[in-house]
Symmetry: C2
Subunit: 297 residues, 2 copies
């Protein structure tokens, strides 16, 4: 599983930072979390094919998290995409997508499914799910949790004993929890390995530190947070509903997070390592994001 | 007068080329010609302040020439702009701008004047005018002519003789064409220098070579053209309504142009100097545009 930062600026892009966008690759699933202006061009600096993106999850409807969708959609059409694209976002996302779907000049021929989200599970597959949780910003906003489902692995020694190693009935056993084999009743719980927790990645979107984020972040491998401000603008961060490095680090610590990545920096900071330093005073595994930074999980 | 290329790709941006946008600075007038996705970020690589842009002229409603307007408008609002922004474009531009003006999340407080254009003069000031001319693309499209008005300069020796050097009545003379001074009737034509032609810059927008462009380009100091293709795709260029380097160079030659700049390159060309070379076989003063290239006129 790989997370790639495509844009790490706040509302205003800078020379070295594009507007917010994060890419997650999990097996064949290629998804965007937010899609600021210029995301399609940022992709050109990576080995991610825009063509293979299946879904885009938008945290809220502020332009800097959203505007890149239009250009991406248009370019996918130019490239003659056929597969469906799923777009998730708060109430109103449909109006945005519909505007461009109906823009005469787009001539869209592939399907776009727009899903207006609420709190809770918004996507489920056999091997993972995505959950949305409400956060505290200046407009209705969500964070996202990517959660891999625990994988069921069978103990090879025990399978050998039962003459079941590599046997087609193993799938049935995983599915049904019990099978009959050579006259014996075999229960899943007797042959399976201890369950391994799936990987978990959490993204705050734009928000000030809040309980909802703390709950969502619990035991995540990677927590990506709004760190628009540092301690020098702590009050402003609360007023505007934005993150502040140290406050976010406190959440990461409480929530027993593996790694904290700060992003969405205000352009007032010339060196974002300062914010990283503030966070590390509280939580050592804190990192300031850079455009095109990659994290393997 | 300075022309800066902000984006020189075709429909799909590349690593080194942003989507179409050109900036013209003429005295205090700071204008954009087209505004592809990412234009606001391209500006960060120049000394042009987005804050001082007075107007944007959009050649046609294809997304790659238009999408950057939304982000630019949002950022101007963040920067607390107060001055009006003028946006010119073909029928339909108003629907695009209105959508974003009314997008709840924009909270626009400055005025935007959207002007749906037709062929002919679309902007006039004392010292320059902008004219739109129809071109041949796959959707209603215009090219633009920036034309400085001829300047009236008075002959200093003659003014001295008439005791008028630096006299306030000089403005009246320029305006009315005739004044009375110390009992003499003085006519403008008797004291003015030979008229100096104003500077002329022409931009084709997206088009195949056509008569309208040839007429518009006549005697221009700078002609900027769609050069999506080279000779290897001459037929495709005609089919898609796009420029082809050599065909455009022929227009430049016929129209007695000062300098020809090719832009809007298809990403199939790895080295656009090849297209420049093709154009130079016909018209020596041909140049392939690069992002951030500046031309003083």
């Amino acid at each position: 599983m790989k997370v790639t930062f495509l844009g790490t600026s706040g509302s205003l892009p800078t020379k070295k930072r594009g507007q917010p966008a994060i890419h997650l690759q999990y097996k064949d699933e290629s998804m965007l979390w937010d899609c600021g202006e210029g995301t399609q061009r940022q992709l050109k600096h990576t080995d991610i094919s825009p063509f293979k993106i299946n879904s885009a999850y938008i945290t809220h409807l502020h332009a800097d998290h959203l505007i890149g969708l239009a250009g991406l959609i248009q370019s996918l059409q130019f490239l003659d995409r056929k597969e469906k694209l799923e777009i998730y976002g708060p109430k109103g996302i449909d109006r945005y997508v519909e505007f461009f779907k109906n823009w005469d000049h787009f001539n869209l021929e592939f399907e776009i499914d727009t899903i207006e989200i609420r709190k809770g599970r918004i996507k489920e597959r056999e091997d993972y799910e995505v959950e949305a949780f409400p956060v505290k910003h200046s407009t209705p906003s969500y964070g996202f949790i990517f959660k891999e489902k625990p994988s069921i692995n069978l103990n090879k020694e025990k399978l050998k004993e039962l003459d079941l190693l590599n046997h087609p009935k193993c799938s049935e056993l995983k599915e049904k929890g019990e099978i009959e084999h050579k006259g014996n009743k075999i229960k899943l719980e007797d042959v399976k390995e201890p369950e391994k927790e799936g990987r978990k990645v959490v993204y705050s979107g734009d928000t000030k530190p809040c309980k909802e984020l703390e709950r969502a972040a619990e035991n995540s491998d990677l927590l990506i947070v709004d760190s628009t401000f540092g301690e020098d603008h702590k009050e402003k961060s609360i007023e505007y509903g934005h993150g502040e490095a140290k406050g976010m680090a406190e959440i990461a610590k409480k929530a027993n997070v593996g790694k904290l990545v700060l992003t969405h920096f205000s352009n007032r900071y010339k060196d974002e390592r300062e914010l990283e330093k503030e966070a590390r005073e509280v939580f050592e595994e804190s990192y300031a994001a850079e455009d095109f930074m990659e994290i393997e999980i």
